[in-house]
Symmetry: C2
Subunit: 226 residues, 2 copies
């Protein structure tokens, strides 16, 4: 209940008192994608102890970052969502996610992807999300059994959970999609090697690959050389 304090009158210290708690950053990532029920969060955060999730939600609510919406009307479940103040964390989450992705090459043993993680990755990869205004394309992006959508419309890119309604192109891939975003795997090779499978207008794949980018960072250390 009593949060840890660093005793410094410093924005980063105040932020660290909140997001420095274990699991909190991932909870916020999931909520940043959209409102979620308690059980959705449990499902999207494999391994989180239920008491930890309950504590975090309570702390975040007290901090004014998360709102707890009691069941009402057609909704018959408790729903959590970010407050405006919580939504302001978006740029910081993106910056951290971009940095972390830079050092991320292949999955470690047992690592999974979730809807929120793919959605967040696509948003980060979209950068400022500016594309030619005349583009109007809907993609469904499938990684493992997770489906997300990415829309290029009105000059911007938006990404969200779940498939697109009428996708022009469905892109299915494994973790190798990371190499594509890093620019280490070009669109043609990705298709010819089977790293990605396409359903729909395959000519739209190139602008997908060109518009999304999260480079690898140089000098990434060996992982746990034991």
């Amino acid at each position: 209940m009593t949060n840890q304090h660093y005793g410094q009158f410093c924005g980063l210290a105040r932020a660290a008192e909140i997001v420095g708690q274990r699991w909190t950053l991932l909870i916020l990532r999931d909520l940043n994608v959209g409102r979620r029920r308690y059980s959705d969060l449990v499902a999207g955060l494999p391994g989180i102890p239920t008491n930890t999730l309950a504590s975090r939600l309570k702390e975040l609510e007290e901090a004014g970052i998360v709102a707890r919406l009691a069941p009402s009307g057609t909704e018959r479940a408790v729903v959590y969502e970010l407050t405006p103040r919580g939504a302001e964390l978006g740029p910081a989450l993106d910056a951290l996610g971009r940095w972390g992705a830079g050092g991320m090459r292949t999955p470690r043993e047992g690592e999974i992807v979730t809807t929120a993680s793919i959605t967040a990755a696509l948003r980060v990869a979209a950068g400022d999300g500016v594309v030619p205004a005349e583009w109007d394309v809907a993609y469904t992006v499938r990684v493992g059994d997770v489906e997300t959508h990415l829309i290029m419309r009105d000059g911007t890119i938006t990404a969200g959970p779940g498939p697109a309604e009428n996708p022009d192109l469905v892109i299915a891939a494994g973790p190798q999609i990371r190499d594509l975003l890093a620019g280490e795997l070009d669109a043609h090779t990705a298709i010819s090697t089977g790293a990605v499978q396409l359903e729909g207008d395959a000519s739209l794949f190139e602008r997908f690959a060109d518009s999304l980018h999260v480079p690898y960072s140089p000098n990434v250390p060996a992982e746990a050389p034991a």
Copy 2:
């Protein structure tokens, strides 16, 4: 030694495994200001247990984020600095610090400021740091007994630890400087109420106040309504 893992192939999760550790964000903030000795870090992080600092530095070194420079030549002390990969965290630290500062009004009981916290705050407040190219001003900014400098030159703003060499203006203030940066306290009032004291060319104060900005966020919750 064995870091906590979240089991997700996700940039934010990877970042959280590192910066989600207690004290790590503040250690990185201090190192982001410049290379530091072990004892500098201890001094800049009041309350950090020495074994925790040692553990964090070792973990960060193994992660390729911090470099440990053994004594050599004129240097007769161990020095820590960010690697290039560690320096890439800068934007994320800034984004987090800006968010945290938005919810920060007055210091809590016992909260202090440090050289690194003020330096980081000035950098965040400078934003993209673009000012008219013809400006060439050096400020010393003193908060409590902490001295930092801020230079506007060649169209950009830079901030660092320690006083300016030949300051055009020395600005001394308490935590109320926060209100100034938030735009809640205008330059004239700040001077007339004694919230800030100036030594030097006071006419340069206005461009300081105009160029630096970290707004308060709306809907900041009451602090611990108990």
